[in-house]
Symmetry: C2
Subunit: 507 residues, 2 copies
């Protein structure tokens, strides 16, 4: 097995390694059943960190190219995806069609055909890998979605039946690209209640808030353009920037989010096209930017004529006033979009975190210049958000039904946070620390010095508990001293036990 | 007004002109209320065809940058979209916030910030321009959607209520990226009935078939890559290829679609990454490729290792056996995907043309290599098609309900075609000719020599009837001798009168 890594390349070593291995597997150089070298051995041979090999192998496992068998090693899987053949069994003797009689037809040379854009894309799905873990029950702090029990089944059924039995809704007609006017109006009203001055023409309904990131990338990013992000951030956004060949630069963070005191230096040096930020209940760190930082961020962005994408997926989920004696905001944080009115901020949010991701409905609030451009681009993407989803969201927003559900949710989430923090206080090993989030899904845990998140994850998976390692969110993919716990995903009764198991796995 | 056009550039002159004018309007060089020169005068001054100026002005009208007032000329519109201000009236005397006190804040320099990708995008919405025409009733052969009366309201209501009252469907859960397995299975079965050997893992549910084009462009096109298309084709696909900076080359057509006898020459010369084709009931020409051409297309594509995107949006809508004595296929045409099994063909279809575009649900049938890559890319776009839309489509496919609806539809469409053809036979001017489609939406009319489609359209709009001019679909945007009639959009009772009015407008 020949492998060449380029240490001067900007591409992380683990991705280079995964790429080399992938190429050799896809091309058949490494045949089905080939046993890959053990991680330590390959790491020694290549003179790289063992984590690099671990991550590369994990990547290929997620792509179903290789698999590990306990005690036996890691093997190249059969190419069960290389045929496009009929579902029915193939006839043994006869040749049924002219095509089957041409054994010389060469299959498409996929690796040559795929674009640079799509080759730059790598697909982390550690959450899926976690779920698939041996098929046994697992306490899952990894997946970024709510506990299924918190999805409001009855509410969704009621509003759906209401929407679909109505004759106003006959034929599920085509929607304007920007969304149905009534829904845009209700979303604008919803945003005004959050302190954002806007009206319907500032709002476009999206097929999830990630579509907003994707459309903004298409609308604004030329190859080589710089995007500033929080050093640890939502990794599909990084994927999106990376695929467009943007230069991604991470701004350091502390417990209050992005270090805006450093921002002017970054802007002066890198002249970013935009800053992507999650200022409220950040993913993955759970941090919330105080008002003074928000103002500083806006001032710097304006000065450098740099746009801001404010991702507010979690902003609705404020747990409420902090208990006496505890720090924290006594009021729900006002979005950046509510503090800026010249058009620099493009605000994104979604119903995925408050209702269900199955709705695939989010929205953007932005200057009409942006709305118009995104609508033009979207004409050739999905045209508009599913009419049925829009209609369900319209019913949800009417008469405050969603606000009521969010209230129930945040009361439960606050309890979950308190349970998780209490468990951490009880079981944490020396040197561990964590934030106490004021809303959203995530607790960000710092491991003791010298303890690596991927090692802890390995041990935890064996025990039946998972989380997301910090490297997944890190711009440079090097952070191995943090773990993200999504406290709203596991069953509430499992939180304490899960955290105890994680703390025990720390060493 | 200074204007410079570059005749050597590959960019059509009308787009250069629109771009120059847009820049001057957006930058304020041409102020609100500025009166643009009359079309003839500007055409003479620039030494271009009048059509070029007409098209450029139309483009800017569609973008709401300019407007014509009857008898007064064409004017720059006020910039009513440049503010992002509050919906409430602004206070007159007091300055309510620190931000409002900073009159020095410069608005984002939008034209500098937008990407090359999005600037390459131009937005034709002639159909919308047609609909907006003076607000008066119009016989609309332009819009590419079915007559609202043909959307099966009762069926949609029944299946929706069935789906949403079911407890199987509680909480509208997240879907796998590729779609719910049951729906993929039903779609595979549906495709097998069309003669395409495939199974569920060859199928991905899409948010409309255009999303499939967009994802394939991302997956395969590097800037400068060549895409072969029919000389007249679905224009959003052209937009998608253009935005990715592909080199688009049109292959000549005749009444049987793409001239596959020329294809090898094109492949040898341009080495296309893929061929985009609508072989069945083509948009806009209504033509259908015979089996021999299909085979030739596949053979050439394989030889040059070039992929094929088969867009089959209309393939379901076969009108049935031709009447005795008339030419045409006695059987429903088999898709290219059914004639090729090495993976070169990527097949796209949709429920938009058979049920309603509001569902935003289509599908792709392709090699698992393609499905996997598209799924990875889609992870950062819209993740999956709306759960409610998928569920409705699942119910529609079950128990042959959709097949039944399509049967009703095609009987009605065949009658519409016969009415339209009879009207053409009765009213056509000398030198006009047209195809007789075997399915789908479109009749393609060739105008007498020297008659220009845009002139006819101008006259028709005054009379209250519209269609799409051929230039919209033409790769080079120069075709001015054809018009596309969507015979399924106007009310059936208006077809004869509409066609008579069009024929009268021919001169």
């Amino acid at each position: 097995m020949q492998l060449q890594l380029n240490r001067r390349s900007g591409v992380p070593l683990y991705r280079q390694l995964a790429g080399e291995l992938r190429e050799q597997i896809v091309s058949g150089t490494l045949a089905e059943g080939y046993r890959l070298p053990p991680e330590r051995e390959l790491a020694a041979r290549l003179e790289v960190n063992r984590t690099t090999v671990l991550q590369a192998y994990q990547q290929l496992k997620d792509e179903a190219l290789i698999a590990s068998k306990v005690g036996k090693g890691t093997f190249v899987l059969p190419r069960n995806d290389s045929t496009d053949g009929p579902a029915a069994p193939r006839p043994r003797q006869t040749v049924p069609s002219a095509l089957a009689a041409e054994p010389t037809v060469i299959r498409p040379p996929w690796s040559v055909l795929f674009s640079d854009y799509s080759n730059r894309f790598t697909y982390h799905d550690i959450a899926a890998a976690n779920r698939a873990q041996n098929g046994k029950a697992i306490i899952d702090f990894a997946t970024g979605s709510p506990n299924p029990a918190d999805i409001p089944d009855d509410l969704l059924r009621a509003v759906s039946l209401e929407a679909f039995s109505s004759h106003e809704f006959d034929g599920q007609p085509e929607s304007p690209i920007e969304g149905f006017p009534e829904l845009r109006e209700l979303l604008a009203e919803h945003m005004r209640a959050r302190g954002v001055h806007c009206n319907a023409r500032n709002v476009m309904v999206l097929s999830g808030s990630e579509q907003g990131i994707d459309l903004c990338v298409r609308a604004f990013i030329n190859p080589g353009d710089c995007v500033l992000v929080e050093q640890s951030t939502f990794f599909p956004a990084l994927q999106s920037f990376r695929s467009a060949d943007a230069r991604i630069v991470g701004v350091p963070m502390d417990e209050y989010g992005m270090r805006t005191d450093l921002l002017e230096g970054y802007c002066a040096r890198f002249h970013p096209k935009f800053i992507y930020t999650i200022p409220t209940f950040q993913n993955p760190t759970g941090s919330t930017m105080p008002a003074a930082r928000r103002k500083e961020l806006i001032d710097v962005a304006r000065k450098y004529q740099c746009l801001i994408i404010e991702d507010d997926a979690y902003g609705e989920l404020w747990y409420g006033r902090p208990d006496a004696g505890r720090g924290g905001n006594a009021k729900r944080p006002v979005p950046l979009k509510g503090m800026e009115n010249a058009g620099y901020v493009m605000y994104l949010s979604t119903f995925s975190k408050t209702v269900t991701s199955g709705l695939r409905t989010g929205w953007i609030v932005a200057d009409p210049h942006v709305i118009n451009r995104l609508a033009a681009l979207r004409r050739m993407v999905d045209q508009h958000t599913s009419t049925s989803s829009q209609r369900i969201c319209l019913e949800l927003l009417k008469e405050g039904r969603i606000a009521e559900h969010v209230k129930t949710l945040t009361i439960a989430y606050r309890k979950r946070r308190d349970t998780a923090v209490a468990a951490l206080e009880q079981y944490a090993r020396d040197g561990m620390s964590w934030n106490v989030p004021e809303g959203g899904y995530y607790i960000w845990v710092t491991l003791p010095e010298g303890v690596r998140s991927l090692d802890v994850l390995d041990r935890c998976r064996t025990k039946g508990v998972t989380f997301m390692p910090g490297s997944v969110f890190d711009v440079d993919e090097t952070d191995d001293s943090h773990i993200r716990l999504n406290i709203v995903h596991p069953d509430a009764g499992d939180i304490e036990r899960g955290i105890r198991m994680i703390c025990e796995s720390v060493g």
